[in-house]
Symmetry: C2
Subunit: 322 residues, 2 copies
């Protein structure tokens, strides 16, 4: 029963993630388990597992380590992101650096990355070349984002480049590798990869929208953080003059709260202006468009419970509130 394969597979991935970070060095094991059990959505390993099943794969043992590796890449970057962003909470739990300090957080991120490498090693060159490229692009995306935020020069094109590199690329890679494990049908592999790439774009745009209009409690993290750091959804709209894409204007706002209208919190003020500017609606339209592309790519994928699940994921990603 294929539906059982999906839930059994996801449980096996969860198990493999935790087993992978067994270490004699207590702090590495504790910190790794802390972040791995903090309730991630596991959407990236789902890409790998569902693409594998949708492409005809039937042996969970074949795909589980690969799917776990994909989630491990994401987890490693979260740990390092939280250091760079000075975030104190993530998914409602304290971040690693806020508990264990920056040195151990940095090392834990490195450690998780070595676990990606260990999980992937048995798969051979074709898969490792794809995965290594995705890892490299992910770091390039994070760096481009940090550079754009710093220079205040983020615009629509750079925003698209950032979300493609830092998010969509790993989604695509997960599905491509999962499909390649199951089939030699290139068109099928490419359809699943295109689906996942566009789902990744949708996911990130929605994430950035939620950073502005979401509920901090439901999200388990502070909202407005991306805004504070001069990046995020604002750049997808054309009304950039209203946004915080410009780090300098954020600094100014912080230094000089707008006394005229009585709003003392510059982030709240920016979020308000952003909502009023129409940028959210533009971003929303873009998310709908990339979601449509994801659905279109599924058309030629043979019907299966896994394909149904992939189709449902588009709606879930588009409509999620946290």
């Amino acid at each position: 029963m294929p539906n059982d394969l999906i839930s059994t597979g996801m449980k096996a991935i969860e198990q493999m993630l935790l087993v992978s970070v067994d270490s004699d060095i207590d702090v590495l094991q504790s910190a790794s388990q802390h972040i791995l059990t903090s309730g991630g959505k596991r959407i990236r390993p789902q890409m790998a597992l569902l693409a594998y099943l949708a492409a005809g794969g039937e042996d969970l043992e074949q795909v589980v380590p690969l799917a776990a590796a994909v989630e491990m890449v994401h987890t490693a970057t979260l740990v390092h992101d939280d250091i760079n962003d000075h975030s104190l909470t993530r998914r409602g739990k304290a971040t690693i650096h806020s508990i264990w300090g920056r040195t151990f957080a940095l090392l834990t991120g490195d450690y998780l990355f070595t676990k990606v490498y260990e999980l992937m090693a048995p798969y051979g060159p074709a898969f490792n070349i794809i995965m290594a490229g995705a890892c490299s692009r992910l770091v390039e995306g994070e760096t481009l984002q940090a550079a754009a935020a710093k220079s205040g020069s983020i615009d629509r094109d750079i925003y698209k480049q950032i979300i493609s590199l830092k998010t969509a690329s790993l989604f695509e890679t997960a599905a491509r590798m999962g499909a390649l494990l199951a089939t030699t049908d290139e068109a099928l592999v490419n359809n699943l990869a295109t689906y996942a790439y566009n789902l990744g774009l949708t996911f990130q745009i929605v994430d950035d929208i939620l950073d502005v209009i979401g509920d901090a409690e439901a999200l388990g993290k502070p909202v407005g953080l991306d805004l504070l750091q001069g990046r995020g959804v604002l750049a997808v709209g054309k009304h950039q003059q209203v946004g915080a894409g410009d780090g300098a204007s954020v600094a100014t706002a912080v230094a000089e709260p707008d006394a005229a209208n009585g709003v003392a919190d510059p982030i709240a003020e920016m979020m308000l202006r952003l909502r009023e500017s129409g940028a959210i609606e533009i971003a929303r339209l873009q998310a709908v468009e990339t979601a449509d592309r994801a659905r279109a790519a599924l058309k030629d994928v043979p019907r299966s419970p896994a394909r149904s699940e992939l189709a449902q994921l588009v709606d879930l990603v588009l409509e999620r509130q946290s």
Copy 2:
């Protein structure tokens, strides 16, 4: 001419390191090139190249990416170490985080690690499993060191474990992989791996001694840094009461310079006491012992210019002043 193979190989490794970090993201390329051209000793890629040649390998193209990957692992960890140690100079040049800031330094280290992965991907499972394990142990060694320094509980056993994990393991892995590329003779592979493991231990002990008695200018970095951070050579001696293995006592010393003997610099004071304690001599004896083991492992390796080079390296590592 095999000697030409050595120097041609080392040049090709250098070239490959620089080419690997080509990126559209300027800061990643600049920062990576900055650290890669800062005059590293390249002893780890030498392990891979010389073991390959000593085991009968003749095709440089086969071993160069692997040797470059080994140096890339080391380089990635240097970038992250410098962040954690707050080091401002490395090999006489400014550190990445001191030029580009912590965020970009952290990302550059991550980026270099993805390049390890890219360089290794084509080699297939056997090699990648070995390399992934070495990377994981390296991070464990760094973490154990940081944890021991923090708790002040570093002793001789933990010191040995640290230098085995963080240094000797990568030396061993480099030689093992290089040899495995050239031969199926297990005994030969193991001899070269044992040689490199012991050379790695020797290298690290000497490094730690130089941290105490070396010349800052020749080393291109401040001396006493390891001491300040409660780790290093002191732990190899039995006179731990004199050392700075205890972070708390370092803090005390910093807060209350020893006014009685007029020494205001607590690090200089600790270094002086350490030199007088005999710990350096004990560490020196241990380095001589591990160097002997490295030489012994070479005995059954067939004579070749590469083997001669490996033998010479033992003396160079043992006698180096910087």
